[in-house]
Symmetry: D3
Subunit: 126 residues, 6 copies
């Protein structure tokens, strides 16, 4: 990658999407925060892999904010976009939207920023 | 739902999408067929829920065809579309595309037809 | 395998059997359809492997019908039988029976037909 | 249950049976001992539930012996039999046999003794 | 809790500790970043619950830095400490150390800061 | 290892510790006995690996006693100690304590004895 090059378009639609199952819940019956972070990490991985067309890994994350609980049976869609890229690293924003399927009501539930690097340089594989 | 009404548009992008992890592999190192069927079932559930805006369940499946293996690290995208709807039931087609992320190569890997019904009538919850 | 040869006897008892745990439930509290299909796929894999004594994979499935919900704590038994075999492929029927353990009540819950092929020819590993 | 009554016949075939998947392996590539113990515990639960036709739980285990490793792709069959029963408790033997599916080779891999009690009396639900 | 009160001592030893199994690996064979974040989230939950003796949830995370890969068979120990507390919120640092068990070699692998709030106020259950 | 040598000190704090999630529950809503045995097996593996600084595996278990149920949201801490060692084998005691986090109430829930051997001699990898 060349530094500070404009990034590729994010494809339409979510990067990662799934229905929330009981195995991902905490003891309060809502999506476990760690499960949400894992979903976001996979979305950042896909967006950075598509941008770099190389094997990328997560080097860190910041500004993760949980704003709404996610419930069993909800559809969760994580949309990731490469915001900035340097020679070997990318900053990827991830927004998670939850949809209550029987009503169609949608709401932002989590967002955060993930730092991805090309794997040859990587301290942590992802 | 009224019988034989034209169905709603499928939103752009995949219905369900995820990265393949080692826990979903069979002993040959490719995606376990049952894991693929479970992914397709969730995609059919989302498409039928959005069409009916009711709680829907899977009553059966047909014409499931595996055409290409899926490997760890691939992105799998399942796109579901309601093909026909009756008063209480829907036929939902699901196509699974696998993407090798470092190269961007994409290929159809599985397809099938799922029969979904509104839950009050349902023999099997999904 | 020789084409159209009579198939081996199915051993007595279930091919695959397990107790249903909460991690396999959908948000309605019954066994997720995809989990049932995955169980059936494993049963078909065992029956076809025993018939061919070779590495086999799933090439497709048909006529999957869910007739009764399965609940947490139920025993589920999937019995698979090779119905027809050609030179490289087998059609395997799978019937899933659920047993409510405290009462002993048993009922057929799902059935379907799986198409298995010897792995060297296989489009999809299982 | 009446104390020291002769126990019901064990049904033919395995009590619990499944194919070993990568998610159940330890870092050495064989079935994790804890996964084998969990399988045996479920088999003991089924045998004791069928004997007592009541909700039973595990109160303890003894004499668990691992004699052969179990590999990915193996079929594992756990057969449980109620050996002794008192008024509220049962001693259940469990034997795990592994089958290498492409060859049909079968071998005993683990055995153990589980102590099950009727749930109203139970210190630990199972 | 009173604002800016000195926090309780962290108990000796790790807050959360486990052996890394294949199901937690990414396709490169090292611990998936999302699995590490989930582990840290559970450690922060325990430390904040012990500090507040109330039901707490994760409201966000920052400054997550991956510095060393974690391999299958490693012991991972996450130690969490409440760094600051306000009336309803706590900032909890989490450090993950990986130990290669056959050699005893230990190294810091990940660290981060988690924001926990008392659950009655919580946007996201954990 | 030399036979009957005094064993190394157990490090302070738990060997394995985690929060109980719904995916580990049985259908009664308490920790599945098999999940508790798997936790104990991992703790014994860590203690024996640290003692021998070699690859060890589980050869068996005895005297497993469940005394108290464990509930979702509880912290479970398994502390393992090498009690005896011979030339190639070790007897490792494991005690599991459950802590109700909002109250701080702690209680012993399970204990048992695990037999670990150095892996070159091992019938079962762990």
């Amino acid at each position: 990658m060349n530094p500070e090059e404009p990034t590729a378009m994010t494809p339409p639609g979510p990067t990662i999407a799934d229905v929330v199952f009981p195995e991902q819940l905490n003891h309060r019956g809502t999506l476990f925060g760690g499960a949400a972070m894992a979903l976001m990490d996979r979305a950042a991985f896909v967006a950075a892999s598509r941008e770099a067309r190389a094997d990328v890994v997560c080097a860190g994350a910041d500004e993760i904010v949980f704003s709404q609980p996610i419930r069993p049976g909800d559809l969760v869609e994580a949309t990731a976009a490469v915001e900035r890229r340097g020679r070997r690293s990318m900053a990827v924003s991830v927004v998670v939207v939850a949809e209550t399927l029987p009503t169609g009501e949608r709401r932002e539930a989590v967002r955060g920023l993930f730092h991805m690097v090309v794997a040859a340089e990587a301290p942590q594989a992802d």
